[in-house]
Symmetry: C2
Subunit: 199 residues, 2 copies
């Protein structure tokens, strides 16, 4: 069978390592690549290596970028006095899509998770704290995810950052805009209820 | 922004070309590849090219394989007198997972679709008909998908094959209508194979 061929096994495994790709999906993607013209497979392969070799972490905010510092860090119109902390580059991407935020970012590339051996050193929290020295920052917005690890990380960071006398805020969590109450899960609804604001 | 970088644009586009991958998914997969260690991206890239270069079509049944003829065509325990015709390698894979079928396959790599210019020549129907010459085949099972193109293709093939005086059967419609073979569970597929009807 094709799946037993070592090169095909490696390809399926490579696809399975991608986020959100299960066994069946990996097999489907592998079959597509194997059925496609050889040039298409080569172009795909090249795109992966080229992008990965050109993209690295911004030396200021650790976001992924082709230039260093990244386009956001080097944009004079962005407010360098406000730093929004996100877990992953995808978080910064999502906020940028919103188009409202004018400050800059700091990407942790993870969350604190003692069980998996991920502590402040693995997240290079010292890099973040170094950015906060010297009084050039007014506010840090914590935008880690609303998971237990994300909350723990935010709590830890808020304590570290408070030492600098900088304002620390947490993004609001609640019912998505435009979405009916019936589509929000219970945890979100409970949180939205607790976090209600006076009009 | 990272998405504007040409190498990243090409990577997202490469992912979007895969089946079932939309813009958001492609961006998510690209971000994963870009965040991963460079060696992982290189291993992924290599897996694609290596598998694609080693896999080609079986000269007998046109299924994808690393050896030629493929493991199924060269298996003496398989009944070479029964040929099951599928649209894509994924269909043969799905039937093999069922584990009930003991015959061999023929892969069309598509369906008749006059609007898209896909006729008998594009599907290399002559290759199939050549296999049927000489009286070594007792039965052809049509297992194209239950779509209008799949039905049209089956009808066309049944007429062509009838000329050889070979029994032509169609797998039972236990496979959900409008759905591809690869989405059917194993029990359904095994049942559909057993309940095939003479055309």
């Amino acid at each position: 069978m094709l799946w037993n061929a070592p090169s095909v096994e490696r390809l399926v495994e490579a696809f399975r390592r991608l986020p959100g790709i299960g066994k069946r999906s990996a097999e489907r993607l592998a079959l597509h690549v194997l059925s496609a013209p050889a040039e298409e497979a080569e172009a795909f392969s090249r795109a992966v290596v080229e992008a990965r070799s050109r993209v690295s972490q911004c030396s200021v905010c650790l976001n992924l970028t082709e230039e260093n510092p990244c386009a956001i860090c080097s944009d004079a119109r962005r407010d360098q006095r406000i730093i929004c902390i996100v877990e992953h580059p995808s978080g910064a991407m999502a906020i940028e899509r919103g188009g409202m935020y004018r400050g800059v970012y700091h990407v942790l590339h993870g969350v604190l998770n003692p069980l998996e051996g991920i502590g402040p050193e693995e997240l290079r929290i010292d890099r973040l704290l170094k950015r906060l020295e010297g009084g050039a920052v007014d506010e840090v917005i914590l935008a880690t995810n609303a998971t237990s690890e994300g909350e723990t990380t935010s709590l830890y960071l808020s304590r570290q950052i408070a030492k600098f006398g900088i304002a620390v805020t947490r993004i609001a969590h609640g019912v998505p805009m435009g979405g009916g109450l019936e589509y929000a899960d219970e945890a979100t609804l409970a949180h939205a209820m607790q976090g209600r604001t006076r009009l």
